[in-house]
């Protein structure tokens, strides 16, 4: 199985390296550093903190978008070029193809993490940047697995990308939504209670992305070892869930 997964992953990583994504990342870094310079100029105090937090938030969101877009586009292109059918016609289990793609995309996400994290070390303490980068890597792996699941299920670029971005925004905002919904706990209206219950039910199947890769780690209290362990554990569990769901869907498809 490893002999099949390895080359698929390698080809996927090669595709990422040869695509224009690296150029995009370069432009993104330049723009972020320019934004950092501008914000530092307009701030009266805390210029360094403003620079670091805003740039980190920008890089985090952009890295998530680039990862999702790359996975979705690459998979749809492969499907349109009939590469997917060719792969599935081989005497391999479907899981080998899926794992190969996941490993390749995850490696590309790790590379992207390194590229966007390193410049942050110029404006923030290295130890904190390392923790932030580790968490970003975990977050991008979840985005990769989610994108893979959505594109296998929805098969088209726009619905898949919209679903991934919707998932990402929801997972990042779920704590705030729960907070708002919990105000209805004392309400006597059944609709308020139902909304609260639904919000909590949704939260059960979402990863807590709002607790990951916080830009506040770079300027305030750094994350504890427990926080980072919880980030890694959340990534492992949620990636497993998404891979299982993608695997389930891939087996159901009549290809």
């Amino acid at each position: 199985m490893t002999r099949i997964i390895g080359p698929i992953a390698q080809a996927t990583l090669l595709e990422a390296m040869r695509s224009r994504m690296l150029w995009l990342v370069g432009v993104l870094l330049l723009l972020s550093l320019a934004a950092a310079g501008f914000l530092g100029q307009v701030a009266i105090i805390e210029a360094a903190e403003i620079r670091v937090t805003v740039v980190a938030a920008l890089l985090r969101a952009a890295a998530a978008f680039l990862t999702a877009a790359f996975v979705v586009m690459s998979m749809v292109r492969e499907s349109n070029d009939k590469v997917l059918e060719l792969m599935l016609a081989q005497p391999w289990p479907r899981a080998a193809y899926l794992f190969g793609k996941l490993v390749g995309f995850s490696a590309a996400a790790a590379l992207l993490t390194v590229l966007v994290t390193l410049p942050l070390a110029l404006i923030a303490p290295a130890g904190r940047v390392f923790a932030w980068g580790l968490s970003l890597g975990c977050e991008l792996i979840i985005v990769t697995a989610m994108s893979l699941f959505c594109v296998i299920t929805l098969t088209h670029i726009v619905p898949a990308l919209a679903a991934v971005l919707g998932f990402y925004v929801l997972a990042r905002s779920i704590a705030a939504l729960q907070l708002i919904a919990s105000a209805a706990e004392t309400s006597t209206l059944w609709t308020d209670r139902a909304a609260n219950w639904i919000m909590h039910a949704i939260a059960l199947v979402l990863p807590r992305l709002d607790e990951m890769t916080q830009s506040a780690w770079l300027v305030g209290a750094p994350p504890t070892a427990g926080t980072l362990t919880s980030v890694v554990a959340q990534t492992a569990v949620y990636t497993l869930l998404l891979v299982a769901a993608a695997q389930f869907d891939l087996h159901r498809q009549n290809l």
């Binding site: 105090i45 403003i50 300027v219």
Partner: protein, 242 residues
């Protein structure tokens, strides 16, 4: 993908592109420069709505909101007088930003140094009270701004009881090791200005006796102050005598 040379593009397409670009630039430059007028500062959205809009990055949003709020102070080289701002709304904005980023110092720095500097005593008091309330939530991090508020209350508002209230709070709640000793020793000096010489003497004596003052120079300074106070009390008492 190989591209054709530029000469391969029909002339009318190039002309159309140039005209459209010129039109857009003309239209954009005819628009007035965006400006933030003080009276335009409305109430902020609720903290929960802001948390939702932060998409998991409340600290980054708080920093950006502070810069947005600051845009109502500066515009195109001229400065909008802070007193034109609706201070009720301003306070709500600052509170919301602090709720998103409790460790941030920018909102309280702005409140005590910028917005409390307007020549309008009512608005100054509003800002100083805001600083006082927020100080009580995190004294060891926010003492610099209440210390500044104390100075403003004493020298600008000339409201010694208010300055004393802030000085007492600083003395009672600030325990941060990085806070200089003068921060917690302002009360006796304010009492002295209020002509409460006896109370000031007791406080300075108490400070010296408590052993909280470790620095030799500070001890000498307070000791000298104590002697001066005793001298003034003596003179006052002898002056009162028939």
């Amino acid at each position: 993908m190989r591209e054709r040379p530029l000469s391969g593009v029909p002339a009318w397409v190039t002309a159309l592109l140039a005209i459209a670009l010129a039109l857009q630039i003309g239209l954009a430059s005819s628009r007035p420069e965006p400006s933030a007028k003080a009276e335009d500062l409305g109430a902020p959205p609720g903290v929960n709505a802001l948390r939702l809009a932060a998409v998991g990055e409340p600290v980054a949003l708080a920093k950006l909101l502070m810069l947005y709020l600051q845009a109502f102070d500066y515009q195109a080289g001229s400065r909008v007088p802070y007193r034109d701002l609706d201070y009720g709304h301003l306070e709500q904005w600052l509170s919301a930003i602090l709720a998103l980023d409790p460790d941030g110092q920018y909102p309280l720095m702005s409140a005590s140094r910028l917005y409390a500097g307007v020549p309008d005593p009512a608005k100054q008091r509003e800002m100083l009270e805001f600083v006082y309330r927020e100080y009580l939530k995190d004294p060891n991090r926010r003492w610099p701004w209440l210390a500044h508020a104390t100075v403003l209350a004493k020298h600008e508002l000339k409201d010694l009881p208010l300055a004393r209230k802030y000085a007492v709070a600083l003395q009672q709640h600030t325990t941060a090791p990085d806070a200089p000793a003068w921060v917690t020793q302002m009360e006796p000096f304010i009492l002295e200005d209020m002509d409460e010489l006896e109370a000031a003497r007791v406080l300075i004596g108490g400070l010296l006796a408590s052993g909280r003052i470790k620095d030799e120079r500070e001890m000498r300074l307070l000791d000298r102050r104590l002697k001066l106070l005793e001298e003034r009390i003596g003179n006052k008492n002898s002056g009162k005598r028939p």
